[in-house]
């Protein structure tokens, strides 16, 4: 009997549970993203060496804890004798800027078109969705290479290219959500209350799809960073002297077989940490943005 009584008491202790909920904040991912962001901002101050100029006498130095390594190059040097740590630090800047701006750019374009397409329907919907279909039918990487070949490689061009390649993913999902949202009673109420189409899209539809957009965004961040790396690898990405993680990863590939693991493993770890953290943060944000989940 006593055991039963205890079991019954437990669910009513909701204050405890709600205080536990505050611990939901993903501290470690937030810290990782924060540190990467700070490193990106203060790259000039933090980097011990110039990331673009190496010394050919100091090629392929291993990290300091391996035999032959020195504390002058904490994480070793690459095939041109450039300091890997410095390149990683400056690479954070490139990845942060390219990753986030491209995701936001694609998200803004895709979400806007998705909402317009879904809400207005009719021929507007037909036109936007047929363009989206065509767009999706093109292989993303091929399309990106094609665009990059036209406009020429530079960091901001890459941002625009990635945005143009990936907006369709948002448009599709968001349109689907809008189709169900616009039949919801609160949208009808807004209509009979005299709100214009644009007011309804902005005030009633957009806030309800922003969660999905953020979730797609966190997933897209990984895809975008990896596409950027692929473009760099193929020589149409961020132009070579500039240190991008993807470029470093590709460059280190040949050396991997002869034991120079640090050249590719280290930037690989950076990419992984950033994508994983962004995903975890995005997941938390999704819950936070939903008042119903937030206050349960």
């Amino acid at each position: 009997m006593t055991i039963q009584a205890e079991i019954i008491v437990l669910p009513s202790s909701s204050p405890e549970r709600s205080s536990l909920r505050l611990g939901d904040f993903p501290l470690i991912p937030a810290l990782i993203i924060g540190v990467i962001a700070l490193v990106a901002i203060f790259a000039n101050l933090l980097a011990p060496h110039n990331p673009e100029i190496g010394s050919l006498t100091a090629r392929f130095r291993p990290p300091f804890w391996e035999t032959g390594g020195s504390t002058k190059y904490l994480l070793g040097t690459d095939q041109l004798g450039r300091d890997v740590l410095s390149r990683l630090i400056f690479g954070a800047r490139v990845s942060m800027v390219v990753g986030f701006t491209a995701v936001i750019f694609a998200g803004a374009v895709g979400t806007t078109l998705g909402i317009i397409s879904g809400y207005l329907g009719g021929w507007v919907d037909q036109v936007i969705m047929r363009i989206t279909d065509t767009w999706l039918a093109l292989p993303a990487l091929m399309f990106a290479i094609f665009l990059a070949a036209i406009v020429g490689p530079s960091m901001w061009n890459i941002v625009i290219i990635l945005g143009l390649v990936y907006w369709t993913r948002y448009a599709r999902v968001i349109r689907g959500e809008v189709l169900s949202l616009k039949e919801r009673e609160f949208v009808r109420l807004a209509i009979v209350a005299g709100c214009s189409k644009w007011t309804i899209m902005r005030r009633h539809i957009l806030p309800n799809v922003i969660n999905s957009a953020i979730v797609i965004g966190t997933l897209m961040l990984g895809v975008v960073i990896i596409t950027e790396a692929s473009l760099s690898f193929l020589g149409v990405g961020v132009p070579p002297p500039e240190p991008a993680w993807g470029l470093m990863l590709s460059d280190g590939k040949q050396s991997l077989m002869v034991g120079r693991w640090w050249l590719s493993v280290l930037p690989g770890c950076c990419i992984m940490l950033m994508v994983l953290s962004a995903n975890l943060l995005g997941d938390w944000l999704r819950v936070k943005l939903d008042p119903q989940l937030r206050q349960l």
Binding site: E185, F186, L189, V192, A193, G194, C195, R203, Q295
Partner: protein, 358 residues
């Protein structure tokens, strides 16, 4: 309440003065709304030749089975019809202005501001992502361009007006934190937020349990008295009509088959359909009598039978009913009926002449 009224004071004296003396608040003349299939091969006469009028401060009940065109009529008045629906003919005169002729932009200033509507499912009428205050304040901001602070102050007053306890804290809460009855009252508050002249309530109590229903109906009546609202009450519950309404319109297959003052229709229905509806209400007094149901199904609105649409189900139908569609006969006291039985010899001739000309 006094703080709620000044907003529309600028035009009210003339408008109100005019409408009371010379014309009803809303006058619907010969209105038809049809749903047309994309190739134009199928036409569903959802609202067919409907004429109604409602005076300032009056309550008009519209009853009928599901699919009789009640909701389509409401949507037609506000011009928020689905794309397949067309207003084929008729006039909707709001204080003398024809709503059918208005542009979309002009209609937006009518919706919510002069005619407000409460929807069938008020439980789902609130956006889950916004606070109550934001949503009650929205029409005020849209229609009166009020700032956030002003609109929120009004929102708190409105919540007080619909008897929401502690409105100060409620405005900052979200819909899921409210009970069903409260959400519904909030929808009511949104309805009256811009001081409309007419409120259309489309089955506002179907999703509520009975005790809350009674409370809500009382609230609507009080709001109506305090704000001089005219109310169109769409329902299939004749009990609610008896409690709430002054005038009644009975719809069948897209047409108003009978209309007039509630008490008179209840005492002596002119149309067999109204009579059958009244007989199908369970009564407490005679427990031995079987409940009478109306035999058969409502007709397909895309393929109406010739003659009176109710004739196949009507116990009193005679030959003429199956051949000729009855026009709207008018009798004393503002009553109308679309039934050959209602044609009294004296009025018969001139009515036929009138409908033949139209």
């Amino acid at each position: 309440m006094s703080s709620l009224t000044p907003s529309s004071a600028s035009y009210e004296p003339t408008q109100r003065g005019r409408s009371v003396t010379t014309r009803p608040l809303l006058e619907i003349e010969n209105l038809s709304t049809h749903y047309v299939s994309s190739r134009g091969t199928r036409v569903v006469r959802a609202v067919d030749e409907v004429s109604l009028r409602i005076n300032v401060g009056e309550t008009l009940g519209i009853v009928g089975e599901s699919g009789s065109g009640k909701s389509t009529l409401a949507l037609t008045i506000l011009r928020v019809l689905p794309p397949a629906a067309r207003i084929v003919s008729g006039k909707i005169l709001l204080e003398g202005e024809d709503l059918v002729e208005k542009s979309d932009a002009e209609m937006r200033h009518v919706r919510g501001k002069r005619i407000a509507m409460i929807l069938q499912d008020p439980m789902a009428s609130l956006n889950p992502l916004f606070t109550i205050g934001d949503q009650v304040a929205e029409p005020i901001r849209v229609h009166e361009g009020a700032g956030r602070a002003t609109a929120w102050r009004r929102a708190r007053e409105l919540l007080k007006a619909v008897r929401i306890p502690s409105p100060e804290t409620r405005v900052t809460q979200y819909p899921h934190e409210m009970s069903g009855g409260m959400r519904q009252r909030i929808v009511g508050a949104i309805g009256i937020s811009c001081e409309p002249r007419l409120l259309i309530a489309d089955e506002p109590t179907t999703s509520l349990d009975l005790t809350i229903q009674a409370q809500y109906l009382n609230l609507l009546r009080e709001l109506q008295r305090e704000h001089g609202l005219a109310l169109i009450f769409i329902t299939h519950n004749l009990g609610i009509v008896a409690k709430m309404c002054d005038q009644l319109a009975v719809m069948y297959a897209g047409r108003v088959v009978e209309s007039g003052p509630v008490s008179r229709i209840f005492n002596a229905p002119a149309h067999p359909y109204t009579e059958a509806l009244l007989n199908s209400i369970p009564r407490m007094s005679d427990s031995t009598q079987r409940l009478t149901a109306i035999e058969g199904q409502p007709p397909d609105l895309a393929a109406l039978p010739p003659g009176c649409a109710f004739a196949p189900r009507c116990t009193k139908a005679f030959d003429r009913c199956h051949e000729e569609t009855p026009p709207e006969f008018r009798s004393g006291g503002g009553r109308t009926a679309r039934c050959w039985l209602a044609a009294s010899p004296s009025t018969h001739e001139d009515i036929l002449v009138r409908s033949g000309a139209a």
